[in-house]
């Protein structure tokens, strides 16, 4: 079975950590399922696969997870979305215009300072013609990357423990 987390960590099939993770098969299956549904859903609504990958890249960078960021950048490269990569990777405070820039700023707040999200923040997404479904999808996505970051960090510590 394809598993992004094991690919990124280089966890070999049949290794002790791979076997341990298979004692929680639903956690494995639904983390991969959530990744698929959030990054490449069959019906993406008004938020394209490229925009989704750009948001994921942005959060991975904000969270300082280089391996995860490289993965999401790869999705954008495959889609030929160079401009989205440039925007997502510009972590300067320089003002950015446009729809993707506004979505990236939302990702920044949710990832790092979720307590600062207000009704006005959400209303500004609605004003960009995002539906409630789009808003939930984007929020789920930028909240899911932090799950991946901590799962990867925890598993990396377990790997290190086993090789010590």
């Amino acid at each position: 079975m394809d598993d992004l987390i094991e690919d990124l960590l280089g966890i070999a099939p049949g290794s002790p950590l791979a076997e341990l993770r298979r004692r929680r098969p639903e956690a494995l299956r639904h983390a991969q399922g959530a990744y698929r549904e959030l990054l490449m859903p069959d019906d993406p609504g008004n938020v394209s696969h490229a925009e989704r990958a750009a948001l994921a890249l942005r959060v991975a960078l904000r969270e300082n997870d280089a391996a995860l960021a490289k993965h999401f950048r790869g999705l954008l490269e495959k889609a030929g979305a160079q401009e989205a990569i440039m925007l997502a990777e510009d972590l300067s405070a320089a003002p950015m215009e446009g729809r993707l820039a506004a979505l990236l700023r939302y990702a920044d707040v949710v990832a790092a300072r979720p307590a600062e999200v207000s009704q006005g923040t959400i209303d500004s997404l609605s004003a960009m013609d995002l539906t409630p479904r789009d808003i939930v999808a984007v929020t789920q996505l930028v909240s899911f990357v932090p799950y991946q970051v901590r799962l990867i960090a925890g598993l990396r510590a377990m790997l290190e423990e086993k090789t010590a």
């Binding site: 923040t121 959400i122 939930v136 909240s143």
Partner: protein, 188 residues
């Protein structure tokens, strides 16, 4: 730390939740994948606006918090309360502090942590869980095998450590969703 409580706290969504009577089959199926006690809550009905992500994410949440064996449920609840405090999510903290108290009957210990922070925790196992929960929440990139040593010293096996990592990671997600998609009504 006075703002954290185990009393019930309200939550008001910033977008309209799905109503059960008018839910589409996809929305209903996604809600059915969520923990039975919570699937009719306004929070899960808000997430049901996007049934694709809720179905997977709800099922993930369900197994992380309720899968049998491994880390005792009280420890999972304690950990997620600590993560929620570290992330400043008053609502999630109240829910999971309450569940921990119901499961463990350790109300005073929980209240002390809510009031004064987890460094006042004297139970070695809970202290190890709390320290690791905060560390993986706030500094995931800095976590090493050394951070697992206190968990091992408290007697935790591989499955328990994996369950703890899952719980902590789940609330990196849950706290952000809860704080972004709705307003927590200030505790009295």
């Amino acid at each position: 730390m006075k703002r954290f409580t185990m009393e019930e706290v309200g939550w008001t969504p910033r977008i309209p939740p799905i109503e059960e009577a008018t839910a589409t089959p996809a929305q209903r199926a996604a809600l059915d994948a969520c923990p039975p006690a919570q699937r009719s809550s306004v929070y899960f009905r808000t997430l049901a606006n996007d049934p694709g992500s809720l179905g997977e994410r709800g099922a993930l949440f369900n197994t992380v918090m309720y899968a049998p064996r491994g880390l005792p449920r009280a420890d999972r609840e304690f950990s997620t309360a600590i993560v929620s405090m570290a992330n400043g999510c008053v609502y999630c903290t109240s829910v999971h502090a309450r569940r921990f108290t119901e499961l463990s009957k350790q109300r005073e210990a929980m209240q002390r942590v809510l009031d004064e922070g987890h460094r006042v925790e004297t139970d070695p196992r809970r202290r190890a869980i709390a320290d690791f929960s905060e560390r993986l929440t706030l500094e995931p990139g800095a976590v090493t095998a050394a951070d697992l040593a206190p968990l091992r010293a408290a007697g935790m096996d591989d499955l328990e450590v994996l369950d703890l990592i899952h719980s902590i990671a789940m609330f990196a997600n849950a706290n952000r969703l809860m704080q972004s998609l709705g307003e927590t009504d200030a505790a009295e």
